[in-house]
Symmetry: C2
Subunit: 401 residues, 2 copies
């Protein structure tokens, strides 16, 4: 029903242009990105739950709440514009205004987003020149350039798109994102920008995005931290001429494709996590309630002891069970079984069937899954995590200096 587009990006969907340039916030690398659609886009967004929210995030939240549609997203890296007080807030408003002026659109059609160091003034002169320049660089091939410009400690460009086969015609969904520490508040932030040429009514778009984010971006952990600047936005410009209506077969397919795209993006963030050498899927099965299933998955995905054991390729099932036990979820430990990929390790009644050699082989791979069957209900939860390495400590101990 949907398939990956080679070299897909946020500009794969019809009518979207983008660009990424260097404007001088960072020392050398690209640090300003712009995504633009001439056609108005219905827009949905999900934002950090951190009580400390950066100025651009607050402004974008307001835009999505109040505007019928948007046309542009301006993103800078290298400076988070967080904890910068009134001055930072006014700077963010200026960025939004300048961008709108240059694009000749309304201020409330522009979303803004920042990622980088907390608590430092924005270099507004450089950003102003940058905005002047980037508007002229917009192109239908600009998605990758934009993806590059939003990177911080990321080591890989994260850009994907799907073609989705609907009843009458096809639509495209594409996105770019960045992560790296998920999330390191200092040079920080998980950001995702997704576009589609489907036409989707605003409240439905929001519903679709929330559903997909819940199963993807909200199910990953590099270090269990959330940032002041996290956001994922979805813009739908309708350029394909295909409308997605509520409670139709097309909506289901679109939702599935969107979730799959978001999972691709989310996994790309985890596998490029700071210091990470392994991408691990945690499947929690047969739990009494969805809340409990999520609690168990989160506790395992966030556990420093599980993550160091993964790093050491140590088949340490005790840490996995204990992490589940401290999640706050209701279950009976003696009913649990644990598998690495398809290899049973622990069966109910604490029956240990661990083949250390086989297990160690699996745990040495760069990608594998931990499957934990709680045997106490029917709800499931899937999470993605990475290992905790000496390199993570080095990156984060040395970072600011």
């Amino acid at each position: 029903m949907y398939q990956l587009i080679e070299n897909g990006s946020v500009t794969s969907a019809k009518g979207f242009k983008a660009a990424g340039i260097f404007c001088g916030i960072k020392r050398k690398k690209k640090d300003l990105a712009l995504i633009y659609s001439e056609l108005p886009c219905t827009t949905a967004g999900t934002f950090t739950l951190n009580k400390v929210k950066a100025a651009p995030l607050l402004i974008s939240q307001e835009v999505i709440k109040k505007s019928e549609h948007t046309k542009a997203v301006l993103i800078n890296s290298g400076n988070a514009n967080a904890c910068t007080g009134d001055e930072g807030f006014n700077d963010a408003l200026d960025m939004q205004k300048w961008c709108a002026e240059k694009l000749n659109i309304f201020t409330n059609e522009v979303l803004i987003s920042s990622t980088g160091v907390i608590g430092q003034k924005m270099p507004m002169e450089k950003i102003k020149s940058g905005i002047d320049e980037i508007v002229n660089q917009l192109s239908e091939q600009g998605g990758f350039s934009a993806a590059e410009a939003i990177m911080t400690t990321d080591t890989k460009i994260k850009s994907f798109a799907y073609e989705v086969k609907l009843k009458k015609s096809n639509v495209i969904i594409g996105g770019i994102c960045k992560g790296s520490g998920m999330i390191m508040p200092n040079m920080a932030t998980m950001l995702g920008f997704i576009s589609t040429d489907a036409a989707v009514e605003k409240s439905l778009l929001s519903e679709l995005l929330v559903n997909s984010v819940q199963k993807s971006f909200n199910k990953i952990s590099v270090d269990g931290e959330t940032s002041t600047n996290d956001m994922v936005v979805l813009l739908a410009n309708g350029a394909s001429g295909v409308a997605i209506e509520k409670d139709t077969e097309d909506m289901k397919i679109f939702q599935e494709a969107l979730t799959s795209l978001c999972i691709l993006m989310a996994k790309s963030i985890v596998s490029d996590g700071e210091g990470a050498t392994k991408l691990v899927t945690v499947n929690v099965k047969n739990v009494k309630s969805q809340v409990d299933a999520d609690l168990i998955g989160k506790s395992i995905a966030n556990s420093s002891l599980v993550k160091t054991a993964i790093y050491g390729a140590d088949a340490n099932w005790g840490r996995i069970l204990s992490a589940a036990g401290q999640s706050g979820a209701d279950f009976e430990p003696s009913k649990v079984s644990i598998l690495f990929n398809d290899l049973p390790v622990l069966l109910p009644n604490y029956s240990l069937v661990l083949d250390e050699e086989q297990a160690s082989k699996i745990l040495s791979q760069s990608e594998f899954s931990i499957n934990i069957d709680i045997n106490n209900g029917i709800e499931n939860s899937t999470w993605w995590t990475c290992d905790l390495t000496e390199e993570y400590v080095r990156i984060n101990a040395d970072y600011r200096t």
Copy 2:
């Protein structure tokens, strides 16, 4: 009102004997400890909230619930007897029974406790011989030996006692504990054993212990993990002839001394945390509610990003504020101020007064405090944490192999 006793231990209080021996659970080091009072002791305990509970912990919980008094605590290290099913449970019952027989007391006067690897059978033959031997080793100087025998990856013996001046006469409170990873479920566990020669009625003793643990052992974090075997118990044998009555001045003093002792013990666990090089006190001040104050303290003390920044002596106040922000507590970030020791770093309205050189000097010390004023109420919360180092990753990645 109370003062530290030099070389104090769990045998400092009158009428308590202890011993620690090697019985063969570990390869070389002492692995069996016994604490004993001929006089019956009223007894209180606090236990792990982890859903996965080890057999000896479940048994001790029952003893404290049902027995009027206890006389002995038998502890082994090297094997946690957790996730060992019915067989493990029966083994724990046997340990309790054998110990009672040897001491010529009732089975339900014996508490048992284990720490070590999860999911492995207990070497019961060795333990049986060990119990035979250790009973003969009991002495009033045996506290340190017992403290040594409960260690796992701890690098230091943890043993303390206070003399407490009450109205008529003095009493003594002493304790031993172990931690190291707080808590690594595989060779694991925070254990604390406290004795006093005061006479304290059972329900009051429990009240006193819960209050003190809440302000000490429940406020420390090495890696945010809780174990299957965590427990702190307090035995009061009345040998001093001094009774502590509810709602008296003496009770207040005793409570204070007990809290202070528990804090000493708890801090000794953090500063000897796996890979730790720094002991950091986190003081959260002026919060709307106690729950919120605790949430903020816990979030800062548990944050991998804060802990790596401490390791790197990086004055990364943004990570501290962001950790507070993701705690779930209600507060206004722009009202917050942050100090390292007495050095202001961030003042309200995001006014940054950071002197990098001075801050770096403080953060390079082996002990300092992070003081965060939320400026939104009157409740406070103090936590203790350590840095997250490459050594922590190495210890936990390599541990089991």
